[in-house]
């Protein structure tokens, strides 16, 4: 965990005071709604269909138990008793009252949580691998760099009014769990031939109505220079990114219009001109941030404790363990994913009671630490293997042990038309119906890894382009229709899915998904061939035939 010092605390308190003043001026009429809109967006406040929505940052997906309890408190005190974890390591509260927002922010600030730049045309919450610091084989903990970048991008005096929003994600593992290739800047930590730590820098990824996979702009930027290189990219974007059309304002369009080579030359030129700047991080500066991350004092534990051997006779425990428990870099420990995708529930929601209970379990079993992943699930990152059976029982009672992580019912979905003023169609009820169709976890286990992503409109908050099966809600003559794509993925081999045919009406979506899954089961080479690999091998045609033959 990163521990805030007095300076970090002072800054977020100052931000709360500033926002309190802005709300006061809005309520007194001194600020017009148009003026206030931009100011509230700089601090995570949207106006939705029914109420203001409040988005709180969970930088690089790391939370302490104390912080999670405070989020539960905000859900209970200022909202309707629940929160919604998003695909970018944020949590959203959907029923907040404007006049109470400053108090909610002040309560969060006490535990080092803020909502700065969780919306608006600025540098958004920096995201990372939810297994950072505990995944085996990692180059080093990417949260050190995430925190350096979080600080650098917070209230940046030059880049707080960009052409459009700007998202940065960081990974330090070979397997990309942070979806860096669909970010404005993706950073992949690696070592060069001289053993120095640095980043492959990717730029111009993003979804929305014009989706692009990010391209490599520089294969290696030394870690000490990463801030100045990011600043060079931002400066080029701030000056030349389009501001005439909101749909063409993201950096991906600039990169596409200039071409990656020309864009890279512009950035290099700017970087060179910046010369030796104060942004260069010397070893001491990096160590300064590193020193404020605390790590658990792990015990020396056996690889296979007796508790685990005994519990292996319980088929429900075993099914959950095989699905939700992942290897840890330290022997005797595991990373446990907590599914927020119960059968019939809205993906990513957690009640205040669940949050409090997870905080307690984190204290008991995970050194007080919780992680949030972009798949809208939580994780306990340091669970001793001997504690797994007890933890399973506790999670099961809370409805947080659904053994569907990475399976067909582990659906990513945006809030959709049930909440969002931009949506054309509902997302959550589609997800809920699908979880009921595939409610048999053994069947889901046989199907294997399969990511379904649902967006209620072209803005793609549910990342439908990169779902193994992507579902996009559109509106046709006042009715909800859904376009289905297959073969997308968001990992290190990221690519966009391919449309299989005409959009289908709301009532048929679940049938179509079932058809696709059945086609896959019949077509796959062997049980280990994943859905995406079958699609890659055969293309969309056989799936298309199956879906549309009878429609």
């Amino acid at each position: 965990m990163y521990a805030y010092d007095e300076l970090d605390r002072t800054l977020i308190n100052e931000r709360v005071s500033e926002f309190r003043d802005q709300v006061k001026r809005r309520l007194s009429g001194e600020l017009t709604e148009d003026e206030f809109k931009l100011l509230r967006l700089q601090n995570g406040v949207y106006l939705q269909l029914h109420a203001y929505m409040f988005r709180v940052a969970i930088p690089y997906g790391t939370l302490s138990s104390k912080q999670l309890r405070r989020l539960a408190h905000v859900a209970r005190r200022y909202d309707r008793g629940y929160g919604h974890f998003t695909t970018r390591q944020n949590i959203q509260f959907n029923w907040i009252k404007l006049a109470e927002l400053p108090d909610a922010l002040a309560d969060l600030a006490e535990v080092g949580i803020h909502a700065m730049q969780t919306s608006g045309n600025n540098m958004r919450n920096v995201t990372s691998d939810q297994w950072a610091g505990v995944a085996p084989g990692e180059i080093e903990d990417p949260r050190i760099w995430s925190e350096l970048i979080r600080q650098h991008t917070t209230l940046h005096p030059e880049f707080s009014f960009l052409p459009r929003k700007f998202k940065i994600a960081i990974t330090a593992s070979e397997h990309d769990r942070a979806a860096i290739k669909i970010h404005d800047i993706g950073l992949r930590l690696h070592r060069n031939a001289d053993g120095e730590t640095g980043f492959e820098v990717l730029v111009g990824g993003g979804l929305g109505r014009t989706p692009f996979i990010a391209k490599t702009i520089k294969p290696f930027v030394n870690g000490r220079d990463v801030l100045s290189y990011i600043e060079a990219i931002l400066r080029v974007y701030n000056q030349y990114g389009r501001r005439d059309n909101i749909y063409k304002a993201r950096i991906k369009i600039l990169v596409h219009e200039l071409g990656i080579e020309k864009f890279a030359r512009e950035v290099d030129e700017e970087w060179k001109q910046m010369g030796d700047t104060e942004l260069r991080l010397d070893r001491a500066a990096i160590e300064e941030v590193r020193s404020r991350f605390s790590y658990p004092l792990y015990e020396k534990l056996p690889h296979m404790p007796d508790e685990l051997k005994q519990a292996a006779h319980d088929p429900l425990f075993e099914r959950w363990r095989r699905n939700s428990v992942a290897p840890h870099k330290v022997q005797g420990y595991s990373i446990v994913t907590l599914s927020l995708k119960p059968v019939g529930g809205p993906p990513g929601d957690a009640t205040a009671e669940q949050m409090d209970a997870v905080a307690d379990l984190a204290d008991k079993y995970s050194f007080g630490e919780i992680r949030v992943g972009h798949e809208q699930n939580l994780a306990l990152p340091h669970v001793a293997k001997r504690d797994l059976p007890a933890l399973f029982k506790a999670l099961d009672r809370l409805g947080l042990a659904t053994p569907n992580v990475n399976l067909v019912t582990d659906i990513i979905a945006c809030p959709g038309l049930d909440y969002c003023s931009l949506a054309n169609a509902r997302s959550i009820p589609i997800a809920q119906e699908l979880t009921r169709r595939f409610a048999n976890h053994d069947t889901a286990g046989l199907i294997g890894r399969l990511h379904i992503n649902i967006s209620g409109c072209i803005n793609a908050c549910g990342h439908h382009h990169v779902g193994h099966i992507g579902i996009l809600g559109v509106e046709k003559n006042g009715e909800e229709f859904y376009q289905i794509t297959i073969g997308g993925r968001a990992d290190e081999n990221a690519q966009m899915g391919t449309l299989i045919g005409p959009a289908v009406p709301y009532a048929e979506v679940a049938d179509v998904v079932e058809d696709i899954v059945e086609a896959y089961l019949a077509l796959r080479d062997r049980p280990e061939e994943l859905f995406v690999d079958t699609v890659k091998r055969l293309g969309v045609e056989p799936f298309k035939e199956r879906v549309y033959a009878t429609r």
């Binding site: 010092d5 300076l7 970090d8 002072t10 800054l11 100052e14 005071s17 500033e18 802005q22 001194e30 003026e35 931009l38 100011l39 045309n121 600080q151 650098h152 917070t154 209230l155 940046h156 005096p157 030059e158 880049f159 707080s160 009014f161 960009l162 400066r235 701030n238 000056q239 501001r243 001109q273 700047t277 104060e278 942004l279 001491a284 500066a285 300064e288």
Partner: protein, 171 residues
């Protein structure tokens, strides 16, 4: 529109001269970039100070040769959403060494004062009277800054390193 300089509302000595209108014989003037570039030498020879209003989509290279003879450069925020002039301001101050008046014009509201000051602005044509009056108060909103810019404020990192230094020196 009130002008804020050195923290308080002050009289604007510069006259905005529209394109195509006659120049006053002396006194300080602010002209558009087109008018200035049409004949910069003639304008700079005049008795009286010269300032240029530089649009946010025009490259600074055309302006740089004249910087040391200009009394003010006015950068433009057509709306407060449009942040291009923040980059121009930093480049003028930090790369081109401009040390004359740097003025923010357009939709300038209270909530940009800190950002603008950090980017190098030191004069503000503020849209609302109440915002102008609140300038000094607003500048006190923040005491911690994460990024180094040319404004000389210590960053959080500077302060942390100093603290470490003094701690280890005291041991």
């Amino acid at each position: 529109m009130p002008l804020v300089k050195q923290g308080s509302i002050t009289t604007d000595l510069f006259v905005h001269v529209a394109d195509g209108t006659e120049l006053p014989g002396d006194g300080a003037i602010l002209v558009t970039s087109e008018r200035f570039l049409a004949d910069p030498e003639a304008l700079l020879r005049r008795a009286g100070k010269t300032g240029v209003i530089w649009p946010n989509n025009r490259d600074l290279d055309d302006l740089v040769p004249y910087l040391d003879r200009l009394a003010t450069v006015a950068l433009v925020f057509p709306t407060f959403r449009d942040g291009r002039a923040y980059s121009q301001a930093r480049l003028l101050r930090e790369r081109h060494g401009y040390d004359g008046e740097l003025r923010a014009t357009g939709q300038v509201l209270r909530d940009q004062f800190v950002f603008m000051t950090r980017a190098g602005f030191d004069a503000f044509e503020v849209k609302k009277e109440a915002d102008a009056a609140a300038f000094a108060e607003t500048m006190k909103r923040y005491s911690v800054f994460y990024q180094p810019t040319g404004d000389g404020r210590l960053t959080a990192l500077n302060r942390r390193m100093q603290q470490r230094h003094s701690e280890s020196a005291g041991q």
